[in-house]
Structure formats: C-alpha cells, structure tokens
Subunit: 120 residues, 2 copies
Amino acid sequence: MPFRDTLRSIVESVEGSVGAVIMGYDGIAIDEHVREDCPFDVQILAVEYASVLKEIKKTVDVLKSGELEEVSIATGLCRVIVRAINDEFFIALVMSRDGNYGKGRYLVKREAPVLLEGLQ
Amino acid sequence: MPFRDTLRSIVESVEGSVGAVIMGYDGIAIDEHVREDCPFDVQILAVEYASVLKEIKKTVDVLKSGELEEVSIATGLCRVIVRAINDEFFIALVMSRDGNYGKGRYLVKREAPVLLEGLQ
C-alpha cells in the first residue's frame, strides 16, 4: 500500500484526527494526508516537532534509556503522536484535543513496521 | 499533603512506576520520591528532560497551539509522563516500559492541580 493510503486509512479511522505525515528528522516530509477541514498546518507543525524530536533523541541517547519509540505532546488545542519508524524517519498523527488518543496510538504503532518495509 | 507524600502516593499506586519528581523548567527539583530498587537516576533523567521540555514549550508557543499540558516519551527501556503544573514547574513520572501508562497519566493529571495549590 502506498504511504499516502496508509496515512489516509489511519486518519480516517481515528476519531478527531486531522492529519498524518511521514517525515525525516531533518524536517523533510515523504508523504502526508490531511483532512480538508484541518485547522492546523500539519507540515509546519511536523517540521517544528522534527527539530524537537532530534533533541529528544539526543537526550534519550545521553540517558542510555534505549531507542526512542514514541513521543506524544498534548496542548490546549491539539495532540500529536509521533512514532519512530527508524533512525531517519517518523510518523506524526495530529488530532484535536478530544480525539481518540488510544486508537491513534494503537494504529500508529501497528502501521510503523509496515511503513518501514515500504522505506527499505 | 506535602509534595513528597503526593509523589509517593502516585508512585505506589501505579504499577511499574519507579519515581516521580516535581521540577522547574530550569532543572531544579522541588521534591521527589524514588523507589529503592529504581534502576534509573530519576533526577538526572528529569534534568535532561527539563531542557527538552523548554524546547517543546517554545515550539508549542511558535505554533500557537495552546498551553503545553502533557508530554510522554517512550523508549526501549522506560516511559516518562510529564505534566505541566504551571508555567514554571512540571511533574514527571518515570516508569518501566511495561508500567501502567493509563493509570500514570490519570493520576498525574488528577494531582497536578493539587500540587499547583501547594505551590501558591
């Protein structure tokens, strides 16, 4: 399945999600799917978060606490779930504050290995 | 209830949790409770995460996506749930990889306003 179809399937399955993107830690996106009525600029959001993720990866390395697997960030307006695909790429799912966080986490975790296969 | 008692109560109620700390974004801890058999240095971990959190706060401000509420970071070895108490302080709960994440999130969210009252 092409990346965009996987992203669309995640976004359409998770209540309250507005967009998903596969991106490198350098902030360059491979693909994305964004709902038409999305109130956020998912690409800009992911680019900003990519640089934060690089910092988190460094910290996790310093602490020797294993590989970075997942980061989630909740703010007053939205929730972002980021899952590492490999050392270079991650998938980010953006949802509204009251989105189905549990289902989002589950699907992003389930699809990360599938996306990894597509990247190899 | 003194801060340490609240922290102890959280750590003892959440299966797989190893320690909790109240800390400023400047990396200075107010109080902590750590299980005796804790395999991590919770203070060092929180100090390192505090600087990452400052970056996340900046990003969240840039994106105008509301106040930062919660960050969770999962690695191969552990899971850290960070909840903002106010603009200066946060509470971090550290647990093993298979700890009860849902209960941890719930209790940290429930106790944050209680801790805030104690700080005022």
